[in-house]
């Protein structure tokens, strides 16, 4: 029989212990059984990855033996076993111990953390300021400043599209032009801007659409003052839900600009970018250290080893961890590295990690004869 103890320890930046919790881990989930089955039976196995996609895991992967690997590098660092091809790349944070804010009770079919805390340093102490008229529901450009160049225009419209919020959205698009085609050329643009206090804003999220059959002639950009912070090449008639822009590097009042700019000639009116529901977010992150697996020891009738990871709060916010889990790697039959949740536990009440503090999470799997 195998069981596991789960320990959470809150440390100050000098490593001094401030708080310690210990509880039995209760929640090894189906993906662990899938990966063990694959190894026992020596057969490929379809199992659900952390993005809810069913992946057929290759029992004999060609590029490295990553199946069931839990040990991992820190944060964004590449995992050595799978960096032979960018398609196989997983980050260190994708495997090993995970933390999150979710509070829902674990079930055997959990395939991801309920509300995972990503690796990073963002997180502000206060409530983020909001854009004025973020969804254009006034039916006009109240709160926004617009500018155009060449055969482009800014207009608030109300047509239906997939990710529109409410009635209206803002179109940054080509305008009918007199003269000889092409009607527009590279460098023509339409943009809207607004000044906002970004002190407590870590990310800006918006809904975007590449509108029309000439949308692929355009790029879409976000600027903070004179600095570009985001760009995407649009495709024809394509929705881009929940675009995220990291603005955690900015504090104080800045001008944020959303811009549709042509990168090639275009020959028709009303093509370009549609944007809606521009939100400001305060997303908290913890810096993931490497996940180590150490201290294999036996003393009849018991045996155990330790799985451990440090999480550093380098944000300005206090972050409460309510759930802890373990993700293992696997390689699918397309030779791509995937991450699979194999355990998930809820910590109740949550443990609050103040700015500058460190959380040490330790799982100790144990067997007893």
């Amino acid at each position: 029989m195998l069981t596991a103890n789960l320990m959470l320890e809150r440390l100050d930046k000098e490593g001094k212990l401030l708080e310690r919790r210990e509880q039995p881990s209760r929640s090894f989930v189906l993906q662990l059984m899938d990966l063990l089955y694959l190894k026992h039976a020596q057969a490929d196995r379809a199992t659900r990855d952390i993005y809810n996609a069913l992946r057929t895991v290759d029992f004999n992967p060609y590029f490295g033996q990553v199946n069931l690997e839990v040990a991992s590098a820190p944060g964004d660092a590449g995992c050595a076993k799978v960096v032979t091809n960018v398609d196989r790349h997983l980050e260190g944070q994708d495997a090993g111990i995970q933390v999150g804010k979710g509070t829902s009770a674990p079930t055997p079919t959990d395939y991801r953390m309920a509300d995972r805390i990503n690796h990073g340093r963002s997180g502000a102490a206060g409530i983020p300021a909001s854009f004025t008229n973020p969804s254009f529901e006034t039916g006009d450009l109240t709160g926004w400043t617009s500018a155009t160049n060449g055969f482009m225009r800014v207009v608030v419209e109300s047509a239906a599209w997939g990710y529109k919020d409410g009635t209206y959205y803002c179109a940054l698009e080509s305008t009918p032009a007199a003269g000889v085609p092409p009607y527009g050329a590279a460098g023509h643009y339409a943009q809207i801007s607004q000044s906002i206090d970004l002190t407590n804003v870590t990310h800006i999220r918006f809904q975007l659409r590449g509108q029309g059959t000439w949308a692929s002639s355009f790029g879409f950009e976000v600027w903070v003052d004179g600095r570009p912070v985001y760009r995407i090449e649009l495709a024809d008639d394509t929705d881009y839900p929940n675009r995220m822009v990291d603005v955690s590097a900015f504090t104080g009042i800045h001008t944020v600009t959303f811009k549709c700019i042509a990168k090639a000639d275009f020959y028709a009116a009303d093509h370009g970018a549609w944007i809606d529901n521009i939100e400001t977010l305060n997303i908290v992150e913890l810096e993931y250290g490497g996940c180590e697996i150490v201290n294999l020891t036996f003393s009849d009738p018991n045996g155990q080893f330790t799985i451990r990871r440090y999480f550093t709060n380098s944000s300005s916010a206090s972050i409460t961890v309510n759930e802890v889990g373990i993700q293992a790697m696997g390689q699918d039959t397309g030779s791509r590295g995937r991450a699979f949740l194999i355990a998930r536990d809820v910590v109740s009440p949550g443990i609050a990690i103040a700015a500058g503090e460190i959380l040490r999470v330790t799982y100790v799997p144990q067997i007893t004869v």
């Binding site: 190894k39 033996q65 009738p301």
Partner: protein
Amino acid sequence: MDAQVKAKPELEIVNEGQIPNLLVRGEVGAVLELIVKDKNDKVTDHRIMKSRSFVRQSLELLFVEFNKLPPKAALVMKDIGGFPRYIREGYRNFDCAGGVGDLARGIMVGTGTTAPTIDDYVLQARIAHGTSAGQLQYGGVTFGLPASDPTTSQFTITRDFANASGGDITVNEIGLYVVGWDGATRYFMVIRDVIAGGIAVPNGQTLTVNYREQAVV
């Protein structure tokens, strides 16, 4: 505490989905099911119990796999011959898909009765494959696909042992042998259970052993 056998005089086949959950929340373990059938496929004995004895090599192999130990950091493990082997990452690790008569991989049975210890690395007295006196015919190992219900996820490892030896045989111990990789395939025992009182397999009858590996939330 030794595993307790719940002998059931009423004979019935229990479907996989109806197997009683003998594990408690948080446990990853195995439920051991033993079924004896006569040549007419009539069940003559049926027992379900909690497997109690993941032994040392099970945790060691999990440690190797979780860490993906490279060759230069291989872990020394004792194989079923008692030899030290330097085991490292490998897709064959945990392979227990033994074929008919394979005495290196899969579920094994024996006559030993000593209580399991964590350091057990081989069955005390494995029963050989064959039709001679004291032998059982080992079938191929088969697997039930992983599945889950609201509390439990599991998969099943199954093997049949047919008695054509001409005499009755009592199975007292059951184990699971798997592969560990050191550049070649080596074999390791990861589970050993002792059946209190043993389970008799009369001549002409077949013992089916199911290990249902489970995780309970």
